[in-house]
Amino acid sequence: MSAATAHAVAAAHAGHHGDHHAPAVDNYKEQLRNNRLGLWLFFISETFLFGGLLAVRFFLWGDHRPELDQFIGLLVTSVLLLSSFTMNLAEKGMEHGDMKTFSRGLLATAVLGTIFLLGVLVFEWGLFPAIYQGHLTPWDNVYGAVVFAMTGMHALHVLSGIVFIFIVWRLGRQGHYTPQRHWGVEACAIYWHFVDLVWIFFYPALYLIGTPVH
Amino acid sequence: MPKSATDKRHFIIAAALVAVTTVLMDILLKAVLPLPIQASLEALTIDALIGWHLSLIAFLFSLIVVFMLYSIVVFRKRPGDNSDGEHFEGNTTLEIIWTVVPLIAVIIFAFYGINTLAEVTRSEPNEVVVKVNGFQWGWSFEYDGVLSPEMVIPVDQRVRLEMNTRDVIHSFWIPEMRVKQDLVPGQETILRFTPIVTGEYTLACAELCGRSHWSMLAPVRVVSASEFDQWLAQRRAEQNPALVQAGPDTE
């Protein structure tokens, strides 16, 4: 379900304050381990959501697929992959106390994520026909329906990831993180990589596998 | 009464009680779960399977409940006794036995189940084909172009229903025939059975399909082969008088 931010924020939050206040765990390292486990459990759960969408795709399409714009598909995929590198830069920056790399990396990630979103919404969805006429609508047939469902659910996660990035970026600039204690940054980064990873499965399922139909 | 819980005598008494209760339970179960009359070959096959299931239930239920009641009665705490129970934490051999024996039991039932399924779904070369259409909230039947609000089928011949619906899911069920199959929008589903008792039955929709699901019924008549031919010819004539001159088309 799409409480992605809610949870990721929650986990990050617990870490941020666990060091001082949570009586359940008096030591930051313990709380950090809890948080990591919590986040990974959350990913396991989300895997079933995205797995379910993949199953729907294979159930309804079998070895067919709609004709999508291959160029845009490749482009947005590359952009998203690239964003994982910038995210990694940001996290490494924080680890080394390099605030400049940290905030530039985050901003770059957010920008790349936004480009991805625009690519999906403007081009694949054809939300702005004045700029680009989309190929599919959600209501005509199952090809459109599944494309919109899969990209929509994924876009929702990218969007929440971008929101998360901005929160972490602001907190970072206010000095809430140190190279030793920055669970918020770590959670944000892992979350972003996870959303990225999901796309690595969605991309071939939508664009590559099967013969195109008209 | 023997003192130790592992004394053989406990088990002998309990086992005897299990045997007696199994028989009683078997009778009881079959009395409170009366199946409708067996109006099809499938009913014979399926009832046999259900019968074996009920006997297994009778045995397992007795086994566990008798041992439980036995413990309750025999091992209850007596007034003034403040000791704890005997200390044993488990027994691997026993655990393995009561894992493997039920495993064998379910494998046997699985085999039996597979055979029964193959038996009730088998197809035959000369099947009477009825096209069944379900809709909110009623049924209609079609025999090679002839429409009918009631379903009439010949006795002792395998019937193949080719079922369709356009609105929502319905389900075809005549309890006396035992078999059931959903009707799914956008897909033809097949159901086969062989009626063996002539008479009148009621077809009911078994899948919730909206307000009048409860009254989505249709009459079913199982008749002799000659009556069936006669009926079909008559229906055909009613619907298309031109055909009467050409003579009844038997099929």
Binding site: L37, L60 | I72, V106, F109, T116, S171, C209
Partner: protein, 615 residues
């Protein structure tokens, strides 16, 4: 003290405002975009429902800490009763103490059980005679569907109650791994209940399974159900995540997984299902919702979809869900039996691992609800095999329970009675499973009252009876006072025979040809007598539950003081005072022995630092 200091009240106001905002927003957009007609009920109510849930969470204060975090305001974790307000206020507001949250879950669960049961006794009254007496067919279908979901919600809440209250205590932990998330997960349930109740006013008739296309063409009430269950599911996911993390990470030194109180194993297995499978029902409901909103044709054959897909997604959750319902109950049985038998739990490891086995195999059997659905025929046999396999680990539990009481020193206070009742009831429910699993017999029994009988027996045996056992058993720990034993026994002795009459009656009419989910039936079936018995039994169960409610409320004031450990249990929660103090364990505990070594002299399970140790 003003009403507004109750989080619940603020939440409900928030939900109302959120809903209005949603209605307004959609209408505004339609006006601006020049759409016609201006009022579109479907998108308006959906937006209202979603914003309503968010409004509730903001109003109740479940998001406050996280909102503060996003702007960098420190939020110390407040542990303890509210300052400057009466102590009971905390039960109606966001509170991070797992014991408070456990009670919140449990009481909400009981409430939903009563609401769901009340729907049942209403429609049962209609069914006691042939002919439509006082309900229309539409009302019948709505009540039946509401009964299904209200009751299932009650189960999930009841489990949440037991797990949240007990797991940290049994682990000797101060609290759950993520206290804020815990409160958040609880408070999701309340707007979910509000949405479900709202659906009543629109009417919906799909049964709890809400199969499309029926649920696509039905009233807008369905949308409320979808978002209600979606919210409930989100709560399940987050709650179970928290429980798994707690069990894996918060155990005291010396407590290996195989030295946990057995209930924790049951919760671990249950949570694994909840964490994962729940996503699929959420997805399925979202898909129907969007098919209604935008005409996305997932389940519409004219657009290339198929209704069967929905059934796969639905049962991929809803079958494992039935094991979510029972595993905690079976854990309660395993937990309580040794205490009143004064003997170790027989085959601890086997019982623990059988829970995992049931949970895992349970993922592979969903197709047994679809034998007649028209899916590919070759799927029937593998689903039959997998289904039958579940009988094996379940059997291990039964036999191990027998091993536990065999040769014990049994006493029979109310909790023990409910546990023994649960075993016999769940037995008949479980045994009526394989008969549904061998496909051919299911061709007759599917969608008949036999199935209804089957699942009431499994649910009562696997959840309701153990839940009541747990309530009576831990009541002294929660309140510090004993419940009234005579009334407890009366409850048991009314409910158990009544239950048998109800469940066997349902199975009996089902075999004779009584279909599920019908408002009226053919007198020719000869099932009227059976129906009268079922109805009477339903009322008797309702009456007995009222006795329990009275007992629980009354004894909290006049019951005799219980003391720390009235049942002479070895479990950690009984080694601390009753009622449990705000900080449960005065000092950290360490595990030095086996949990269920009753009857072994000088054996110790836990030792408290500083204290002299336990019994």
């Amino acid at each position: 003290m003003s009403l507004m200091s109750l989080g619940l009240v603020r939440g409900l106001i928030g939900q109302a405002l959120g809903t209005l905002a949603g209605l307004f927003l959609v209408t505004l957009i339609r006006v601006l975009a020049g759409m016609d007609p201006i009022w579109a009920e479907e998108p308006a109510w959906v937006t209202g429902a979603v914003l309503g849930v968010i409004g509730f969470l903001i109003g109740v204060g479940a998001l406050t800490d996280w909102a503060k975090w996003t702007v960098g305001i420190p939020t110390p974790l407040h542990h303890g009763p509210p300052v400057g307000k009466p102590a009971w206020v905390r039960y109606f507001s966001v509170d991070y103490n797992h014991k408070v949250i456990g009670i919140q879950y449990g009481v909400t669960g009981l409430l939903m059980l009563m609401i769901g049961g009340a729907f049942a006794v209403i429609f049962r009254t209609e069914l006691s005679r042939t002919g439509l007496q006082f309900l229309s067919a539409d009302t019948y279908n709505t009540l039946l569907s509401m009964h299904g979901w209200a009751a299932l919600m009650a189960i999930l809440l009841g489990i949440g109650g037991m797990a949240n209250y007990l797991v940290p205590l049994m682990l000797g932990a101060e609290d759950m791994a993520f206290p804020r998330l815990n409160a958040f997960a609880y408070w999701l349930n309340v707007p979910s209940i509000v949405l479900l109740m709202t659906s009543l006013f629109f009417g919906w008739d799909g049964g709890w399974t809400v199969y499309p296309p029926l649920s696509v063409i039905g009233s807008v009430g369905y949308q409320f159900v979808f978002y209600s269950i979606f919210t409930l599911g989100l709560s399940s996911v987050l709650g179970s995540l928290n429980l798994i993390a707690t069990i894996l990470r918060m155990r005291p030194p010396g407590m290996t997984l195989f030295r946990m109180p057995i209930f924790c194993w049951a919760i671990l297995a249950t949570s694994m299902i909840q964490l994962t499978a729940t996503q699929l029902i959420g997805l399925a409901f979202l898909m129907v919702s969007f098919e209604r909103l935008l005409g996305m044709g997932f389940f519409d054959f004219e657009k290339g979809g198929t209704p069967i897909l929905f059934q796969h997604l639905f049962w991929f959750y809803s079958h494992p869900a039935v094991y979510i319902f029972v595993l905690p109950g079976l854990g309660i049985i395993s937990e309580i039996l040794p205490v009143f038998a004064r003997k170790p739990l027989f085959g601890y490891r086997w019982i623990a691992l059988s829970s995992l086995a049931i949970a895992l195999v349970g993922f592979l059997v969903w197709g047994h609800h679809m034998f007649t659905s028209g899916y590919a025929e070759y799927l029937r046999v593998p689903f039959m095999l997998a289904t039958l396999l579940v009988a094996v680990p379940t059997g291990v539990k039964f036999f191990s329970w027998l091993g536990t009481i065999w040769g014990g020193r049994l006493t029979f206070p109310t909790p023990m009675l409910f546990v023994l009742g649960a075993i016999s009831v769940f037995l008949i429910g479980g045994l009526s499973g394989p008969i549904l699993a061998t496909v051919a017999s299911d061709l007759h029994l599917h969608d008949s009252y036999f199935v209804v009988g089957h699942f009431h027996a499994t649910i009562f045996g696997g959840f309701t009876f153990p839940f009541f056992a747990a309530i009576y058993y831990w009541y002294p720990k929660i309140t510090g006072r004993m419940y009234n034993e005579a009334m407890g026994k009366l409850h048991f002795w009314i409910m158990t025979p009544a239950f048998w009459m109800m469940s066997i009656g349902q199975m009996s009419v089902g075999v004779m040809g009584m279909r599920r989910r019908i408002a009226d039936y053919d007198p020719a079936l000869g099932v009227e007598f059976g129906h009268i018995l079922v109805t009477i039994a339903g009322f008797a169960i309702a009456f007995s539950i009222l006795i329990m409610i009275y007992n629980l409320l009354h004894s909290a004031e006049v019951g005799k003081v219980a003391g720390a450990n009235p049942w002479r249990s070895r479990s950690p929660e009984w080694q601390i005072p009753s009622p449990v103090p705000e900080h449960s364990f005065a000092a950290p505990i360490a595990v030095v022995g086996e949990p269920y070594d009753y009857g072994l002299p000088n054996s110790t399970y836990i030792r408290m630092a500083g204290a002299a140790g336990d019994d």
